[in-house]
């Protein structure tokens, strides 16, 4: 009979009318994210030895590392910045880090109004710290 398909379709939607709502009311209700979620990157500056592996692995040159050599010719991290406008969120930097210093956070609200705000400085040493590290050569 013509129209049977329409009635069947309507009965399916009617059934869901009384079911549980699946929509998440986003700004009010925050989503439950998985532990592996790729949000913002976080750096453990104590662990980082400024080897530059993450910057080499990054396909887009997002990571900018500044370092100085101390008295023992060892690299000391003085600055770590991410130019997030080019980030693919691929996670190759986190995967490549030999010290496990990089990790993902659950923060995904990264939209900003100005291009310069996309540069995130994860670590910046004080001037006195830089001088102390490099001046002792």
């Amino acid at each position: 009979m013509y129209g049977q398909g329409l009635v069947k379709g309507l009965s399916i939607t009617l059934k869901h009318f009384f079911g549980r709502a699946v929509t998440e009311q986003y700004p009010e209700q925050k989503p439950v994210l998985s532990p592996r979620f790729h949000g913002m990157l976080a750096l453990d500056a104590v662990r980082c030895n400024a080897c530059g592996t993450c910057a080499n692995w990054c396909p887009n040159g997002v990571i900018q590392i500044e370092s100085v050599r101390d008295a023992n010719k060892k690299r000391v991290l003085t600055g770590y910045a991410l130019d997030m406008q080019y980030c693919l969120f691929c996670g190759l930097c986190v995967e490549s880090c030999p010290q496990n210093a990089l990790s993902w956070t659950q923060d995904f609200e990264l939209a900003c109004y100005h291009r310069e705000d996309t540069l995130h400085k994860l670590y910046q040493a004080e001037v006195s710290q830089v001088e102390a590290a490099s001046g002792s050569e």
Partner: protein, 378 residues
């Protein structure tokens, strides 16, 4: 004056009017991205269609030459962005073929699970967008609801929903987390009922049937002549699927069928996807039942320098045959990388099959071909 007016008057014995040229796209909701078709219209009838592509060209093949083999993996996500896992798989297997890498058993199973989940997710987007192109907003919502669960599983495994970057040359990036398999089993149990819902809501809808049955039929000969592959080819009655014809990975271990339709019209091209999703669920169930333990990554050097030479490998993507051709000169970056994308090939047949219909039919036909512009333009 009178004579001039006479010329303008519509005469029944010569109903041909002057043809007009119309642009469909690049900003048109039914072109699924920035695709432009120039239609030559004789009244309501389309007499000629010209494809214009390239609005989403990002030069990914050229970008590959300045990236290392590992660094190119995230770019494959952005080809067919609805089938990122399958693009990852195609590229990873191509490189493994070139380097002669053996992938661990568990990684092979994870790959099959991810590939089939991605196939279902991509087909769900197809069913959803096909429904909304034919004015059924409800159909869109139902498919999106179920796709969400698949994306949540991807999020659980690799931290991303769309651009997954999960597979690596020699295996997969990480093992699946502990809660993954029970969640996947729940999804496998629920999916057949969801497909029944689409059958009731979309496939059985008389309005949709009237608009798509018999519209823009594509014969098997036409499909083969244009090199159409994937579900579009199978809708025309040709049972060709690389998973059976030339099994890659471990597809030869699974028991599944290749569904085909008879007419190759717009409705068949829609319905074949529903049938394929049911087969994908069968593969998923078998993969979950025989999921082995073990490592997920083969021993591959950190900096990949494959031997000199070239390699071509193709897999059955969501839209058809997806091929990667890689030329290596022995360094850590590819000398040349070419991508054979199914959407680009399938789009070529659109002018042929949509000619003779009207614009409404052309919209339905384009939706049924299932193109993704990220893959067409690369």
């Amino acid at each position: 004056m009178e004579k001039a007016m006479e010329r303008e008057v519509f005469r029944a014995d010569s109903p041909r009017t002057e043809t007009i040229t119309m642009n469909m796209g690049p900003q048109h909701p039914s072109t699924h991205g920035v695709y432009r078709a120039v239609l030559t219209m004789d009244g309501e009838e389309i007499t000629h269609i010209e494809n214009h592509v390239g609005y989403l060209h990002r030069g990914i093949e050229k970008l590959a030459e300045t990236r290392t083999f590992t660094q190119f993996m995230p770019y494959t996500d952005r080809l067919d962005y609805l089938g990122a896992m399958l693009n990852n798989l195609g590229y990873a297997q191509t490189m493994e073929k070139l380097m002669g890498v053996e992938v661990p058993e568990r990684a092979e199973y994870i790959r099959i699970i991810m590939a089939e989940l991605q196939r279902i997710a991509s087909h769900l987007i197809f069913v959803a967008s096909y429904a909304i192109d034919l004015s059924s907003t409800t159909g869109w919502m139902y498919c999106m609801r179920d796709r969400e669960r698949i994306l949540d599983l991807f999020d659980m495994v690799c931290g991303s929903r769309l651009t997954t970057n999960y597979m690596r040359i020699g295996g997969v990036a990480e093992d699946v987390p502990p809660g993954f398999l029970p969640e996947l089993q729940r999804l496998i149990n629920d999916l057949p009922a969801c497909f029944d819902e689409y059958d009731g809501l979309i496939s059985g809808n008389e309005i949709l049937q009237k608009r798509s049955i018999g519209v823009a039929p594509m014969s098997a000969e036409t499909a083969i002549a244009y090199g159409v592959t994937g579900p579009n080819l199978r809708a025309s009655g040709v049972a060709f699927d690389l998973r059976k014809a030339a099994p890659y990975g471990i597809y030869d271990r699974f028991d599944f069928e290749i569904p085909t339709c008879a007419n190759g019209d717009t409705y068949d091209r829609y319905y074949i996807r529903i049938l394929e999703m049911r087969q994908s669920v069968r593969i998923l169930q078998q993969a979950v039942d025989s999921f082995p333990e073990g490592p997920v990554m083969a021993k591959v050097p950190k900096v990949i320098r494959p031997p000199k030479g070239d390699v071509y490998h193709q897999i059955e993507g969501t839209k058809g045959i997806l091929g990667f051709y890689v030329v290596s000169d022995g360094t850590s970056k590819p000398y040349r990388l070419h991508i054979h994308s199914p959407s680009f090939v399938n789009l070529g047949v659109f002018p042929e099959i949509a000619r003779g219909g009207n614009i409404q039919d052309a919209v339905a036909t384009l939706a049924s071909i299932d193109i993704v512009l990220g893959e067409v333009d690369r």
